[in-house]
Every structure is written in C-alpha cells, then in structure tokens.
Amino acid sequence: MKHDTLFPVEHLRQRALPEAPLAMPQQVLQRPFEWGSVFRLWTLVRLRRG
C-alpha cells in the first residue's frame, strides 16, 4: 500500500539530513533523430561512389 503521509513514528529520533545542495545536471545520452543526418549520409555515399 502506497502512502504519502507522515508515517506514524515520525517523532522518533530522526534527524534532518544536512542542508547542502549540490546541482546534478542531466546528461545527454540520446540524440533526437534528424532526417538531415540521413540526407547527409546519402550525400556522402553518393560522393564516395563518384
């Protein structure tokens, strides 16, 4: 069962985590597909074949 409320023993000796934020930029792992790249590849192959 999921729940988003405080759980019943919140008063126990839990201490807050240190407040020391550190940025974590999202990395690029996938390039969006471009039709232009297909055209460039086709041009390259055509040029190679003379």
Partner: protein, 601 residues
C-alpha cells in the same frame, strides 16, 4: 602520517591487453570454425551447417573472450600500488556512507549499519563518516518496521550522531534516483560517498583505505572494490559463494588490467568523488516506455561510462579486502535477479551510441547486452544442431560424432574437447594456483580445494541448462515488452519446497521433455549427447528444490576463508543480528508480537 598505497593502473597496458584478448579470441574462433568445417563438410554443406558455423563461432568467441580475463589475471602481474604518505581519513574531508534500501528486512540491514559504525568507532575513524540509510520503501508496513528498528539502532549505537535516516514517499528513479536525491539535498557537505547495497558489509579498514586511495589519486573519480559473497547457506548459494571467492578475484584482476581507467561500477561497495559524480552522472529518462524507455535500470555501468566521458578514471581495485555482499540462495532468486539485470542491460542498447562515450565503455555496454543475448544463441545452436542431424541422417546409417560419421573422428572430438577446455581450464588452473601457492589453507586443505572445485564444476554443469532457460525467458520477456521493474531481493531463508520449485519451473520440464522427444524421434543417435542438457531440464524442479536446501551434512565442502577466519565486521554483524532477532523467542509470549519484543527488548 602512515604509509598506504595509491591505486595504480596503466592505460597503455590496458590497450595492449584488449588487443591481445581480441587476437586470441579471434584465433581461437577461427581454429574452432576450421574444426567445424572439417566435421560438417563430410556429408555435404547445407544452409543449416552455415547457421551452425555462425552460431558456434559466436559462442566460442564469447567463451574465449570471457576466459581471457581469467588468463590475464592468472599470468600477468598487476601494477604495484604506489606507496604514498596518507593522513587520517578526517584530513581528506567528510565521507557519506550511503545505504539505499527498498522494502528490505530492517533488523538485518540495520544490523549491518550498526556493525560498520561500531567497527569505525573501534579504529577511531568514525568522526570522518556519516552513515545514511536512504529508504525508498513504499509500503506503510515497511516504513513502520524501519522506524521501529531505527529506534533500536540508535539506542544500540554509541556513534548514533553519525547515523541518519530518511524515506522518500515516492521512489522515482529507483536506486539511482535515491542517490541523486541525496546528492541534490546534501551532497555539498561531503567530499566522497561510499555506496552500499542493503546486503553490503564493509570492514572499517577497507572503508578508510578506500578514502585514502581515492584521495591519493586526484584523477580517479570512482573506485570499485571487489565484494566477496558471504553468509550463503544452501547448496546452490555455497557453490556460488565458493566460485565467487576462488575464481572471481583472478578474473577481476584480469578484467581490471584490460579496463585500466575505464573500469566498471557495480552500484555498491564503491567510493566516488561526489562533485565529479554530480557533475557527470545526472541520468535522464530514456525516450519511450519500459522496458527499453523510462528510468535507466542498470544505472551503474552508465554512470561509470559518464564519469569516464567527463575525464575521470574509474578503477576496479581488487586489492582492497574486507568488502562483502550476499548472493542468491536458490536458482529461482538467481533467475529473478537475472530478469532485472537482463532488462537493465538490454535497455543499454538505447545508450550504447550516446555521444562522446569512450570506445571501451561502449564495448562494456555491448558486453552486458551480449551477456543476455548469448543464452538464446546457445539454445538456437542446440536446436539447429538437432535439425541438422535429422537432415544429415539419410547420408549416414547410424551414429554420430566419431562412430559412422563421414567427417574425420578426431575433428569432432577435438571440437568438443576444445570447447570443454575453454569452459573448465580456467577453473582448474586457478585451483592449481591456490594449491601451489599455499592459499588453500583458508579453504580447509589442498585436497578440499580440489574436491570443492570439481564439485562446483559438476553442480554448475547440472544447473547450467536450467539457468540458460531462465535467461532465455528473461530475454524473450524483455523483447516482447514485459516490464519486470525492480522487485526487492529475497534475503531471507531461500529454502524452496518441491511445490514452489515446480510452480516456477514446470515449463522448463516441459521444454526438456519435448526436446528429448524430438531428438528421440528425429535423431536417436543424438539422445546420449542431448541427455546432459535434457535431463537437468526435465528434473528442474527437483534440482531447484534440492540445491536450495542447507548444506549442513557436507559443511566442509565449498568452505571459504570468510567462514574459517571471519572478518571482525562479519562477527560483529552476526552478534548484533542474533541479539536483535534472538530476543523474540524469549520475550515473544510476553509481548505477543515477536517483532515488538525484539525492538523493545
């Protein structure tokens, strides 16, 4: 100040080793292919023979490539660590020890925190470390249990000021998201982070050594230790534990030589520089839906590749001892873990072409993908071989492989011996190394090492077809769009009844029986050759149930040093865990609820 050692690696040597491994694997594959052609062309070359040649070449290449790690680890000396003068860990800035948990058993997990905290206190290093239990548990029951056991942990730990607990109401991004959440909130307060799993245990000396080693090598962004499997109880678990203790360090040494500074990260029992990690390892969600899109499941390999892309070295340091984890205790749990890893690794097909990754990291990702694509290749080879034998049957009266075979006898036997050699030789050589170098003492005796190795080879031969079938199913599930998610591991007693084993593996029995029936009707001469694969499959439920049982009668078999001379942190964990869970028996009646009795007792 005292002397320690900075991790050493040679990137130029790593490149030489990679080319050597590639050359040897290619040469071996060509040799095996030549033997196969000799064997197959005797009765005329068919399209099925071409398929068998392609599939068997792929299998031989893969086997040899894997074996090369072991060979390098056996025969090539690792670079000597560079002696350095080091300060106490406090001088290097603070280190956060992170233990992400997800619906785990709190007494077992929290006892690990207590044991490590106690050991750090004992050696006077606790001041440099904060321990964070980062809970992603989603059920109210798990959250409540964690809160109760946290109270017990804080009561029992003298260094309680260094122990923190937080729970995320929503586990977005799973484990990687959990770590990222910590870094975004508290990362700037620490120089390094040591990441653990819920079943990880690390000796205090190892924790301190990790900090000192990474601090001494500014170019290193992440240092991965080689965790040793401990606390195995069953036949399957103990064989796995033995194999991991005996073979894995040698293979890991060889792998580390090949990887150089572009090594692996296995997601736990490792240390990283928090700023380097934060700058380079923010993981995006992949386009599309799971299993291939969405959150990255096997995040560790990707994070290692991203650190390398950002110019940081990622090192495997097998020299750091005192790093422990637990393994699955039965084949069903092993298969469950494999399903997760399979989905995670196949998802890497979306990442392997990520911009600016190092070539070796791309190869590592591909290797992970092929780890799971190879079982279907093996199965396809078996099926094609049976089909091929049927087509060839009219060409020769009876018999196969050396009886009335049109191809030369020696070629068939040489091919079989060759493949078996690639599979078994590294294990035998490693056993010989242990026996000759006097390292057999921790395993009982020289004779016991030999017996244990032979028994492990026998057991892995029996279980291999079953594991293969589970892996094939895992791949088929993923490619057909099944999202298995990331279910929590079963870390409790893994003993299975025959009924439980049957409900999870009846389909393997059916496949094995059907396969054998096909062989009997199409190519009776192949029946004997198919039995080593078909029999374990037919008997899968019995094998799974029998190997999940404790090995009390043969306790000496597969003995490992962590049992004969356990590390202090293992003893400390056992003491604390027994103290916490043992009280229930005495106080259970009084409190009614055994768990409450444990926490309060």
């Amino acid at each position: 100040m005292r002397l320690s050692a900075a991790p050493a690696y040679r990137q130029d040597r790593a490149v030489v080793f990679r080319w050597t491994a590639l050359a040897v694997s290619s040469a071996t594959t060509l040799f095996a292919a030549w033997l196969f052609v000799l064997l197959a062309q005797g009765d005329g070359w068919t399209a099925l023979d071409a398929a068998r040649l392609a599939l068997s070449s792929l299998c031989v290449f893969w086997l040899t490539w894997g074996t090369m790690g072991g060979m390098l680890g056996l025969f090539v000396a690792t670079p000597k660590p560079v002696a350095i003068e080091v300060d106490t860990p406090q001088a290097h800035g603070r280190t956060a020890i992170l233990m992400p948990i997800y619906n785990e058993d709190p007494p077992s997990t929290f006892a690990r925190v207590a044991a490590m905290s106690g050991r750090l206190l004992e050696i006077g290093a606790h001041g440099a470390f904060d321990i964070f239990i980062l809970s992603d548990s989603q059920s109210l029951e798990s959250a409540t249990r964690e809160a109760l056991w946290l109270e017990r942990l804080l009561t029992d730990c003298p260094a309680r000021e260094q122990i923190f607990y937080r729970r995320r109401p929503k586990n977005s991004g799973r484990k990687a998201g959990n770590i990222e959440d910590f870094i975004r909130h508290s990362g700037a307060a620490y120089e390094y982070a040591i990441v653990l799993d819920a079943d990880s245990l690390m000796e205090a000396d190892a924790i301190v050594a990790m900090v000192q080693r990474i601090a001494a090598a500014p170019q290193v962004g992440l240092l991965q230790t080689l965790p040793e499997i401990v606390h195995a109880r069953s036949v399957f678990g103990r064989a796995l534990q033995f194999a991991a203790t005996v073979y894995t360090p040698v293979f890991a040494r060889g792998t580390a030589l090949m990887q150089g500074g572009e090594g692996p990260y296995w997601g736990h029992n490792a240390i990283f520089r928090i700023r380097a990690f934060a700058q380079s390892c923010g993981l995006p969600q992949l386009h599309g839906n799971p299993p291939f899109g969405g959150h990255i499941l096997s995040h560790d390999y990707v994070e290692a590749a991203l650190l390398a892309r950002a110019g940081h070295a990622v090192l495997l340091d097998p020299a750091i001892g005192g790093s422990f984890e637990e393994g699955p205790d039965n084949i069903m749990d092993f298969a469950k873990r494999d399903q997760r890893w399979c989905q995670g690794n196949l998802q890497h097909s979306r990442i392997v072409m990520a911009p600016a990754l190092h070539l070796w990291n791309r190869i590592t990702l591909l290797q992970g993908i092929f780890n799971y694509l190879m079982p279907p290749v093996w199965l396809a080879l078996l099926i094609v071989s049976i089909a091929s034998a049927d087509i060839a049957r009219p060409l020769y009266s009876y018999g196969y492989y050396g009886f009335e075979r049109p191809g030369p006898d020696w070629a068939g036997w040489a091919l079989i011996g060759f493949v078996a050699g690639i599979l078994i030789l590294p294990k035998l050589l490693i056993a010989t190394l242990y026996i000759l170098s006097g390292r057999a003492k921790g395993f009982g005796s020289r004779l016991l090492v030999l017996v244990s190795v032979m028994a492990e080879i026998a057991l892995s031969t029996i279980t291999a077809p079953i594991v293969l079938m589970f892996q094939v199913r895992a791949v088929l599930r993923v490619v057909s769009g099944f999202d298995g998610g990331w279910p929590p591991s079963n870390r409790k007693d893994g003993t299975l009844t025959l009924g439980q084993a049957m409900s999870g593996s009846w389909w393997i029995t059916c496949c094995g029986a059907a396969g054998l029936a096909v062989v009997m009707s199409l190519a009776p001469a192949l029946v004997v050759w198919s039995l080593p694969v078909a029999l374990p499959m037919i008997l899968a439920p019995f094998v799974i149930a029998a190997t999940s049982r404790p090995l009390s009668a043969l306790a000496a078999l597969w003995q490992v040093p962590s049992e004969t001379t356990p590390s202090p942190v293992l003893l400390e964990w056992e003491r604390i865990h027994a103290g916490w869970t043992g009280a229930a028996a005495a106080l259970g009646d009084e409190f009614g609820d055994p768990e409450t009795a444990n926490v309060l007792g």
